[in-house]
């Protein structure tokens, strides 16, 4: 079945079983590997991406729901020349260790900051519940607060 959606600003059409998890379409059909498989059960958050600006765990999201929607993955969040504030903060605080779970955390954080631009520690605890086995949480928290500063500054400048 043909399903069409925008992904990182590009219109894509894919011919796959409509119940295929979006994660596998993004990774194996479209070839964007930044969105990770961790559990396939919507439990770890490694596959988090944005659908119409909302954080979605793509391993548990049938691709049919993506029809006509706007998807953003870590590759579309920003790049080295134009990093998203979250990515900028992640680099400033040198957050990643193994790095595998980090795209999911950054996507969840970006979704949170869009709605909660100045999150408290309690907001962070309630919103960011992904799993990081290297346990980089201490630096992540610092990076999230830093990202909020950068995000606010960007909003004021634009």
């Amino acid at each position: 079945m043909d399903i069409s959606f925008q992904i990182n600003g590009t219109l894509r059409s894919v011919d796959v079983d409509e119940n295929t998890p979006l994660l596998w379409v993004v990774r194996d059909v479209i070839g964007l590997k930044g969105t990770k498989f961790g559990c396939g059960k919507a439990a770890c958050g490694a596959c988090t991406l944005h659908v119409d600006g909302e954080a979605v765990r793509s391993c548990s999201y049938a691709v049919k729901y993506a029809e006509g929607k706007n998807i953003t993955t870590i590759e579309g969040l920003g790049d080295a020349d134009n990093p998203h504030p979250v990515q900028q903060a992640w680099m400033e605080e040198v957050v990643p260790q193994c790095g595998y779970c980090q795209p999911g955390f950054m996507m969840a954080t970006a979704a949170m900051l869009d709605k909660t631009p100045n999150p408290t520690d309690e907001d962070i605890d309630a919103n960011i519940v992904n799993v990081c086995r290297c346990a980089t949480y201490y630096r992540m928290r610092k990076a999230i607060h830093r990202a909020a500063e950068l995000h606010t500054a960007n909003a004021q400048n634009s």
Binding site: K41, A80, P83, P96, C98, A135
Partner: protein, 723 residues
């Protein structure tokens, strides 16, 4: 992966071979090392031995390449699993090569071209084992470049100036890349004198991780991101039940399913190859396997096996007459502690992409044991090792889980069956049920105090499932020589050398499921038991627990380093042995692989749960090549250790290990992580030591000790749960 391939097309490079001047593995005699005194000797030796680099020392493997664009490519024999090895190695090489760190690109050495460390990557040895080899290699290469540049510039090597990849002399300049392009035969000089530590520009500095951008922008660098042209997807059927033996399978339902390319039946497993991952997973579910199971295990069965007094005891440490002195009941203080089965739960599942052709095989895989994986794949395919090329990728977490990666074999077998590249990964349930778990432990501690309130005698007995024994890393013939499992008793010795009588005994239990290396091995559980007991003894003696420890540490170099971290942690945390504003502090210390570490934690009880607010960590790893990444390892180790000590446990129900998913397998999340972690780094050694595991040691006991001060509850079982 695809990115690297593209780069290769664009570059015209010459292989630049440098002979490695490296350490040699310890050779153990096997004839007569069976008596306990020998075993204790070995235990003591292993406890303090530095792990050498165990790579190829005979042939000149590929260490460095210089591209025409003047970039230096460093082929790392250690894999990058988050510990920061690539960054540290780049710093070391940059200093001796007189280039900036960003001129060096670090890649994983493939077995076809690079050097392989037979030991693998683990045991907190990535930097410590390569500290001297990497300096010598880089310095040698620098001299080779200078010698050739001198010829090209028609001047003497001594007159040359080196500045970030450009060599000037005699009024002219030439880049490293240009030098390399003009040389056919290299002369390898004697290893030159190494630079003085104070002259290093990058070693000792908090250089940003070299893999930072890749990891922040989502580059496809992990094993699970690997692809090959025309790649198919595989899946292998696994049983949920402990000890299940494969007897055969009915695959008729799966055979016609959409996307299925081939069902592959082997003597020991059945798998499927399909056109997509979902097609392979769906077909797998339709395969009905005949498993033979001897017994349906339960948690109670396992607990009954893990008991001090059962199995084979080996005395790993002895001073004075601890055994005799502890026979009398009077004044005897005893306590028992326990730790549960722990899962690795690393985020990237195990798997591989393999392509088996007529007479060669290529496997892309995230593994900690490149050499072992090559041998296993070669054996299964009937190939020589030279016919198998293992291409290591970045690891989505290691933690010891990838010290055996037989999944490479399965991917290779599936690929051979279809003649195309096959990607085959475990799903999460399989990952939880086929883990090489941290074994459960049981500890019995006994002690008697002297009249002056110090420890007269102490004994630690630990019962544990295997860690080293039976693992892919160690040949079986070592077991009877070593006697006790060095992984199981890691951290199990008494580190307070001024105590007149002490003894440590390790009891081996073989469990029905796989137990093996888990970050820091026995350190977390053994330190939890010993350092909780030390706290109990300090309270019995009416002494401050920090001073109580300081008073019983011997005065040699190891003792001085341990005392220094204990004092540093207590001072930085403003240690107080009292409850203030509903918060209490807890203290614990350990020495692991010659790296002493002490933690002070600050804890309160919130909504009935233990809340860790702050951890002050003092650690002495010797030279910190990258202090920022040493701190990062401390932070991660502390929170991962908290997670294991406070939340995690696997159970056995109806023959299966459970749970099989994050959440029910409760782990520390953002909200459980301390908001403050204050790391004090001491550097009282003249070389880099272990970093990635030692900070895990004291965390469980430190939290339990704080909880006792706050609530009066002495929690002697991990995960720590308030009554």
């Amino acid at each position: 992966m695809s990115k690297e391939k593209k780069d290769k097309k664009g570059f015209s490079r010459r292989k630049f071979l440098v002979r490695g001047a490296v350490g040699i593995g310890v050779v153990l005699g096997t004839g007569y090392l069976t008596r306990s005194i020998w075993r204790r000797g070995i235990a003591g030796m292993i406890n303090t031995a530095e792990s050498p680099y165990m790579g190829d020392t005979k042939t000149p493997p590929l260490w460095f390449e210089v591209t025409a664009e003047n970039q230096i490519i460093l082929h790392s024999p250690k894999v990058e699993m988050g510990q920061g090895a690539f960054t540290g190695l780049a710093q070391i090489a940059a200093d001796e090569l007189e280039v900036d760190v960003d001129r060096i690109k670090v890649v994983h050495a493939a077995t076809s071209t690079g050097n392989i460390d037979g030991f693998g990557t683990g045991g907190s040895t990535s930097i410590s084992s390569l500290w001297m080899p990497m300096r010598e290699l880089a310095a040698t290469m620098r001299e080779m470049l200078k010698n050739e540049a001198a010829k090209a510039l028609n001047t003497s090597p001594a007159s040359l100036q080196l500045n970030n990849g450009v060599i000037t002399g005699g009024g002219k300049a030439i880049t490293y890349g240009e030098v390399v392009a003009g040389v056919q035969e290299w002369e390898i000089p004697k290893t030159p004198p190494l630079k003085d530590l104070k002259d290093y520009k990058f070693v000792g500095q908090p250089v940003a991780r070299v893999d930072l951008a890749d990891k922040v922008f989502g580059a496809p660098i992990f094993g699970m991101d690997a692809t090959m042209p025309d790649m198919l997807y595989g899946a292998v059927v696994r049983s949920s039940l402990i000890g299940a033996k494969y007897k055969g399978a009915d695959t008729s339902k799966a055979e016609g399913m959409p996307g299925v390319v081939k069902i592959v039946k082997e003597a020991d497993f059945v798998g499927v190859v399909a056109t997509s991952r979902m097609a392979a997973e769906n077909a797998k579910k339709a395969i009905s396997v005949d498993w033979e199971v001897d017994r349906n295990w339960e948690s109670e069965d396992i607990e009954a096996m893990i008991q001090v007094g059962q199995g084979d005891p080996v005395e790993i440490q002895k001073k004075g007459d601890a055994k005799g002195l502890l026979e009398a009941e009077e004044g005897l203080i005893t306590a028992e502690y326990k730790s549960p089965i722990g899962a690795h739960a690393q985020l990237e599942p195990n798997g591989a992409v393999a392509y088996v052709e007529a007479n060669k095989a290529t496997v892309m895989i995230s593994t900690q044991v490149v050499e072992i994986t090559r041998s296993e794949v070669a054996d299964r395919l009937g190939f020589s090792k030279d016919q198998v090329n293992i291409v290591p990728t970045f690891l989505g977490g290691g933690f010891g889980r990838r010290l055996h990666t037989p999944n490479a074999i399965q991917a290779a077998v599936l690929s051979k069956a279809v003649g195309k590249p096959v990607k085959c990964f475990l799903n999460r349930k399989e990952e939880f049920q086929n883990d090489t778990f941290r074994p459960p432990t049981h500890h019995v501690l006994k002690a008697r105090l002297s009249e002056d309130g110090l420890i007269e005698t102490i004994e630690h007995n630990v019962s544990s499932g295997d860690v080293m024994f039976g693992s892919a890393l160690t040949p079986g013939f070592l077991d009877p020589i070593v006697g006790a499992d060095i992984g199981a008793w890691r951290g199990g010795m008494i580190q307070y050398g001024a105590i007149p009588n002490f003894r440590a005994v390790s009891w081996r239990v073989k469990l029905p499921f796989s137990t093996s290396w888990w970050r820091s091995l026995g350190l977390l559980a053994n330190t939890f038991a010993i350092e909780s007991f030390m706290d109990e003894l300090a309270i019995k003696a009416g002494k401050d627990p920090v001073q109580f420890r300081l008073d019983q540490i011997q005065d040699d170099k190891a003792g001085q380093r341990l005392k220094a971290v204990i004092k540093a942690a207590a001072e930085k945390a403003a240690w107080k042995d009292e409850v203030v504003d509903g918060r209490a502090m807890g203290f614990a210390a350990s020495t692991d692989a010659n790296t002493p570490c002490a933690h002070v934690v600050e804890v309160s009880i919130e909504e009935g749960e233990i809340k860790v607010h702050k951890v002050t960590c003092a650690m002495d790893p010797g030279i910190a090549v990258n202090p920022d990444q040493v701190r990062a390892q401390c932070e991660g180790s502390i929170i991962m250790g908290m997670s294991a000590a406070m939340y995690e446990q696997m159970k056995v129900k109806k023959g299966a290990l459970t749970p099989t998913i994050y959440g029910p397998y409760q782990m520390a999340l953002m909200r459980n992580a301390p908001k403050e972690i204050d790391v004090v780094l001491l550097q009282n050694d003249d070389k880099p030591g272990a970093v990635g595991e030692p900070p895990m040691g004291p965390i469980g006991a430190a939290v339990a000790n704080a909880v006792f001060r706050l609530t009066g509850q002495r929690l002697r079982e991990m995960p720590l749960q308030l009554v």
